[in-house]
């Protein structure tokens, strides 16, 4: 199957000052450090990880909003054109972004209907009447009422605002949406509405999603495949249901077991300490400082992301040892 979007060995490094003051030494922050992903048409890839793991930066790299330090992004087999060129602008119609905070993504001084129309004014030659008609159609497809066309963002609830953002993203007929924590700012009862809406839109329009979230339960609900990131790298990737049912990488196991759930108690793999500073990533496997199974090899050598028995990709030196499974 040909990928809709393919990222290979993406890296994004930032030069920062380590410590305080002007004289502090320069250091490199490796926000994303060698990430390869493939997104297929009409499918959802979930990207999970804790804050600072580079999942949002990966989303921006895929869109070309942030230029990579190294690596390539290919859309339908072609390299992503450089930002600002007409070719890039044409491509941006096909790939849209949805952010966490809909109020921040909307203009408070414009009625939402006008904002939904705006992508058409930018990307296509249309008359105002056409634009209005298509905006109303988009509003209908995300469950907004026609009378809400003239409302301002502050007059709508959080869930309705996120629907406005989605309607706007749909105006140019994209085939990929990068959703960065699209429902994290919403209440529990509204989250379910937006999750269902995203699934309906995918079924109807065949849109692919890169779904970035820290909420594992929601990611499992919407994703076909999931990639787990830790300190700028993918540590495990595979089919969503099997990955959450039987996580293989020790970090994924800790992350999944840390999710509070209703129902019978599960075994919990409690990690010690905080994730290391991304400016000062430990040598070897970045997770070894918190990993209960780390050995000398883990401290020295970076494990490669390798396929295991069932097609799952895992980056762990000790993954084939049966002892690891018992120890948890």
């Amino acid at each position: 199957m040909n990928a809709l979007l393919e990222a290979s060995d993406l890296r994004r490094h930032y030069q920062v000052r380590a410590g305080q003051g002007l004289l502090a030494a320069r250091a490199t922050l490796r926000a994303v450090d060698g990430v390869s992903l493939a997104l297929h048409a009409g499918r959802t890839l979930g990207l999970v990880g804790e804050s600072g793991c580079g999942k949002s930066t990966t989303g921006k790299l895929v869109l070309g909003l942030v230029p990579p330090s190294a690596g390539t992004v290919r859309y339908r087999g072609e390299a992503l054109p450089s930002v600002g060129t007409p070719a890039w602008r044409a491509l941006r119609r096909r790939i849209q972004m949805v952010y966490q905070d809909p109020l921040g993504a909307l203009d408070r001084r414009l009625p939402v209907g006008r904002q939904i129309e705006e992508p058409l004014a930018i990307h296509e030659e249309t008359t105002p009447a056409e634009r209005r008609e298509r905006a109303l159609a988009a509003m209908d497809s995300v469950g907004l009422q026609p009378h809400q066309y003239g409302r301002y963002p502050h007059e709508l609830s959080g869930g309705q605002r996120q629907r406005v953002v989605l309607a706007r993203a749909l105006m140019t007929g994209p085939d990929l949406l990068v959703c960065d924590e699209p429902i994290s700012a919403l209440d529990v009862s509204i989250q379910a509405q937006v999750v269902n809406l995203l699934l309906d839109l995918q079924e109807r329009l065949g849109i692919a999603y890169l779904f970035i979230s820290h909420d594992l339960k929601v990611v499992r609900q919407v994703s076909h495949d999931v990639a787990v990131m830790y300190l700028g790298r993918v540590v495990e990737q595979g089919e969503a249901e099997s990955l959450f049912a039987a996580p293989a990488h020790p970090y994924t196991r800790a992350l999944v077991s840390a999710i509070p759930t209703i129902g019978p108690r599960r075994e919990r793999l409690l990690l010690q300490g905080d994730p290391p500073n991304p400016v000062n990533v430990p040598p070897g496997c970045a997770f070894h400082t918190r990993c209960p199974f780390a050995t000398a090899e883990c401290r020295a050598e970076v494990p490669a992301l390798q396929p295991s028995a069932d097609g799952r990709l895992v980056a762990c030196h000790r993954i084939h040892e049966p002892a690891l499974k018992v120890a948890a």
Binding site: E50, A192, A258, T261, I262, D274
Partner: protein, 334 residues
């Protein structure tokens, strides 16, 4: 039954805003036994935080608090400031979602801990230093002696929340009110903090009120759960009953809206509509406009809280039968 440690009776809070008054909390009655862990669940605007801020007299002047809050029989609503000073921190301590905004950025951690110890326990000099070290140790901060000299911005969110918990423990409170204590933290750090709170409760016998929007967090960490919606208590029950056999349509809806981490994936039941604004709440049952089984009387009169089982209370006219979910009805949820 043991005499309650804290008892709220008909607690209401009104906010005056430019001549317009809105009721954020409407007649909440709740009890907490010594050493008990009570979870308060609700979405934004449900009044779950305001209830406890009101109980401790921490709301601004434009809030009018009525009803009763008793700590071992002593009334706190309308009590003089001096009485509340004796309660806050010493008998009932509170921690919040964002630890870095609750710590003073210009003072070292050690200084802030010592201040709390002087205020609440009258400790000074070497004794307070030793106690500060012991507290940091108790909340699992490694290398406590060095951390005493750190500023809050030197520490991660998880460490700052541990410091907040240490400060809350400084007064050896009988009750800790934790308002979304792990919402700002990553999953693996959240698990650490919740395990820490559980351990402290086992060691000290402190009671806990855990306020959270996360049903999973509440399910795993408390004995009893109260569900709030738009300023009112809608259901209250022991954890196993509430999560296993919820009877109020709103509670059932919250549970049905949650994706699961195991088992087959199926479409979520989404509660239609949105939470009402506090200045524009519906008459009668406040959940009626979103409720799939609402009748005419639901929009007319507010349902009283009724006992429907052992320590299980639900405020619903419909008295949904046990084992039946109103969201399982065809198309109820769209």
């Amino acid at each position: 039954m043991v005499a309650p440690l804290v008892a709220l009776r008909g607690l209401s809070v009104d906010f005056e805003n430019g001549g317009r008054s809105s009721r954020a909390v409407d007649g909440i009655s709740l009890e907490i036994a010594p050493g008990e862990a009570l979870g308060i669940v609700g979405e934004s605007g449900s009044g779950k935080s305001v209830t406890w801020l009101a109980a401790l007299g921490l709301l601004p002047g434009r809030a009018r608090v009525s009803g009763s809050v008793r700590l071992e029989g002593h009334e706190l609503v309308g009590a003089p400031a001096a009485t509340l000073e004796q309660v806050r921190g010493r008998r009932i301590a509170m921690i919040f979602q964002d630890p870095s905004s609750c710590l003073n950025p210009v003072h070292r951690i050690g200084w802030q801990l010592v201040e709390a110890l002087r205020l609440h326990r009258g400790l000074d000099g070497r004794a307070s230093q030793a106690e500060a070290l012991r507290l940091l140790d108790q909340v699992g901060i490694a290398d406590a002696r060095r951390r005493l000299h750190d500023y809050p911005h030197h520490l991660s969110g998880g460490l700052n929340q541990r410091v907040m918990i240490a400060m809350a423990l400084a007064g050896q409170p009988d009750l800790l009110v934790a308002d979304e204590p792990t919402t700002a933290l990553d999953a693996t750090i959240q698990a650490q903090i919740l395990a820490l709170l559980g351990g402290i409760r086992r060691d000290t016998g402190m009671a806990l009120v855990l306020i959270s929007h996360d049903l999973g967090v509440v399910a795993e960490n408390v004995d009893r759960v109260a569900v709030m919606y738009a300023g009112r208590l809608v259901e209250e029950a022991p954890g196993a009953d509430l999560f296993g056999a919820a009877r109020h349509p709103y509670t059932q809806g919250l549970l049905a809206a949650l994706p699961s981490l195991t088992g087959p994936r199926h479409r979520l039941a989404a509660i239609p509509g949105t939470v009402p604004d506090p200045w524009n709440v519906p008459a009668g049952c406040r959940f009626a406009p979103r409720c799939p089984v609402a009748e005419a009387r639901c929009a007319g009169t507010a349902p009283p809280a009724r006992s429907i089982g052992f320590r299980h209370v639900s405020a619903c006219h419909r008295q949904v039968e046990a084992g039946f979910s109103v969201w399982a009805l065809p198309r109820a949820a769209e």
